[in-house]
Amino acid sequence: MTEALSFEKSRPGLPGPRLPAAGVQALPPASVLPAEALRQTPPGLPRLSEPEIMRHYSRLASMNYSISENFYPLGSCTMKYNPVANEAAAALPGFAYLHPYQEEDSAQGALELMWNLERALAAVVGVERVCLQPAAGAHGEWTALRMIQAFHHAAGEARTEVLVPDSAHGTNPASAALCGFRVVEVRSGADGRISLADLESKLSPSTAALMLTNPNTLGLFEREILEVAELVHATGAKLYYDGANLNALMGVCRPGDMGFDAVHLNLHKTFTTPHGGGGPGAGPVGVKEELVPFLPRPTVEKQDGRFRLDFDRPQSIGRVRSFYGNFGMLVRAYTYIVAMGGDGLTQASLDAVLAANYLRGRMEGLLDLPHRGPCMHEFVASARSLAGAGVKALDVAKGLLQRGFYAPTVYFPLIVPEAVMVEPTETEPKATLDAFTGAVAEIVRLAQDDPQRLHEEPDNLPVGRLDEVAAARRPVLRWSPAQESPKELVEQP
């Protein structure tokens, strides 16, 4: 199934929608504005009627997998159910129709929500303050590093390096580079955990911070985290927590207690705000006391029962985005936290760990499990045992798509060959985990019996395997009238 582009369906003679009359006396723009300020040719937007628009997008929607319909066993991505009450809350006019520049007195409810959310997140991760401004996880990482950079700068130190484990998410080194830091990689040991010896050899007076996630991207808890923190702090560097894997730890233990100085969170992972097909997310950053002066401004403060924005923060790194962050996403996460409570969040993490270990156990004998369990909320398997049959992790992923499951994260972390990284989350029923196991078993069987068949999957989705190499060689990044459209699409009813 394919669908013509809105542009290909556009019909030149179709008038635009009806709009209200201006209803005022005013000269036409062309008589008031200088000619050079005016547009010469109208933009080539499509012309479609509302019935055609609605059908077009309904068809596009039907081409997507989504958490509402499919299991996403995506390691490190924490694709859990998105409560519909969150959506209802964010749509309340008292949130959705607030102007960011209306007076503080008229926006007390919004400020109170931000204040409450900050406290709740601080309690979960064990920090002093939380900044809600960053728009996404990577943005939060970068914000935290900017604060660490400013902290060292204020102390009169020029620390130019950031240490990143070889198992880290790609945004870690990218965020560090965007702050002008040199990235130094720290190796993992044979058990998949950070190597203390290698860490020690890389730490120096130039080290600004170590970026770490715990559990790490293999789903393993860094047992020596307290020793790691001690080593890092002894050199005067800061310890940064990548919150991608926080879903294992709510109510169990806290990054702040482990010695982390700055923590970013992905509200679109742990706190159930939807991914939206690639955002918007939200990436709050929590910090310990020493970093508080450097928080982006404004902060929300409470004084005599009234909430206000505090811009007077002389050591602040400034702003990382406009206004106060992705407020609509903050409302959703807050609604989830209120509904779950401390008891519910704790149970969610325990269930997430249980689900991952259960599924990991069921993978035994099907895929390689290169690291000893137990795992935390996710685990990494390897498809290298299928290599003899010419089958790769990618084929396993595509085979799962064929069978109605989204694919696990593959080829990440980079330190495991043919990695298949699975994170079930706490919102997938046991029956779903069992069905997933059945699908993997079928794929492993097919790898032995008919690997060619496996290479051809998926063949039940709107498209098969797309030629990305050819697409990158001569990129077509937009529709243009000169472009040739597939005949069968344009002529479809």
Binding site: T2, L5, A22, A26, A37, P43, L48, I53, Y57, S62, S68, E69, N70, Y72, M79, L92, G94, L98, H99, P100, E103, A135, A136, A138, H139, P173, A174, S175, G180, R223, G251, D257, G276, G277, G278, G279, P280, I317, G318, R319, R321, S322, F323, G325, N326, F327, A339, G341, G342, G344, L345, D351, T427, P462, V463, G464, L466, D467, R478, W479
Partner: protein
Amino acid sequence: MPYLVYSDEDRAQMLAALGLESVEGLLGDIPPQLRLQRLALNDGLSEQETMDHVRGLAARSRVYPDRLSFRGGGVYRRFIPAAVAAVTSKPEFYTAYTPYQLAASQGTMQAIFEYQTPIAELTAMEVANASLYDGATAVAEGAMMAVVQTGREEVVAAPHLHPEYLEVLRCYGDGRGFRVRVGTSPDQHSAALVVQQPNFLGLLEEMPALTRAAHDAGALMVACVDPISLGLLAPPGQYGADIAVGEGQQLGLAPSFGGPHLGFIACRQELVRRLPGRLVGEARDGGGRRGYVLTLTAREQHIRREKATSNICTNHSLCALAASVYLTYLGPDGLRQVAEISFARAHDLAARLARRPGFELAFPERAFLNEFPIRVPDAGAVLGRLEERGILGGLRAGRWYPDLEDVLVFCCTELNDPAALDELEAALR
């Protein structure tokens, strides 16, 4: 507990499969002294109680009627066709993951490809990316493209660039190692000249002349534009800008106290490999069927790590979808009309206000579109009187510009009907 799916029996079965009696058996790697006794939050609530609590908070803020909101400053009330929410609230769109698995994400992929096209059309640039966070970070990303492209370490920002965009630009510059100078004369050290059109006060800038000044200095021109204005105003491509960025909130997104909104970025073809974030391109599968892929990914963090053009990963895909539906709904005629109605209403309001004693346009010689600065006798008193009538008046420019104390910036859109203008005027009598 809401949203949890296991019964105690499920848990017991899953533990039994692992040869365990308690989930504690899975947590042995955590040093005991780190274990939390209790998460210090209230216990959970029923959905009914949760919604009561959240509604209570929502009720503690004042919601001004659309037609009586005259405040802009980067966030605007616009009429949002029902089609927009009907599309973005489809769970197949809003609960989908980032489209890394192409065959299972073609709906999102095609929607983004379609979004890239009208953004390129609106700005009259050759290519646009899949979206950024907001207008402020789009300015910063555009400036960083110019820094890398030119190898220069200074960015010049025109006065009256949105003050928050300027602050974000400085924050990125401090981290990345480029200076930000406010002015309009780029020189041989300047990577880019950043100009907002219309500017934060609503006034039009002389974009062709400023573009020439940037190019004469060997700098790139980064135009920060209002997408609705492009129904009427010259697009960046028409005056030769190299990079066009902006805030897309007006394209079908609610104000939401400042976010989530939409950053857009578009550029000339030769800069495409410097673009931050995702790009969707056309591709074919083995059977010759057309589909869409994430392309030129060698720019991105998950491939290039520290050598990526940006660290952006999650962007604002769902907001881009809203913008695409909005623009498709309006079409070229609708977009121009929305801009024209807003223009007419704002000019009518400006003329009416300027006739009031003690009121005068702050920059009478400057052209504007649908937002304008006006000097009033006492900004606080004027806003107070409007507030009493339930009207959200103009934005106080003095908050950012000491020389513009007692200047209010009013905006009009298609939502501020003629009767609303009468009410505003009457409130000042």
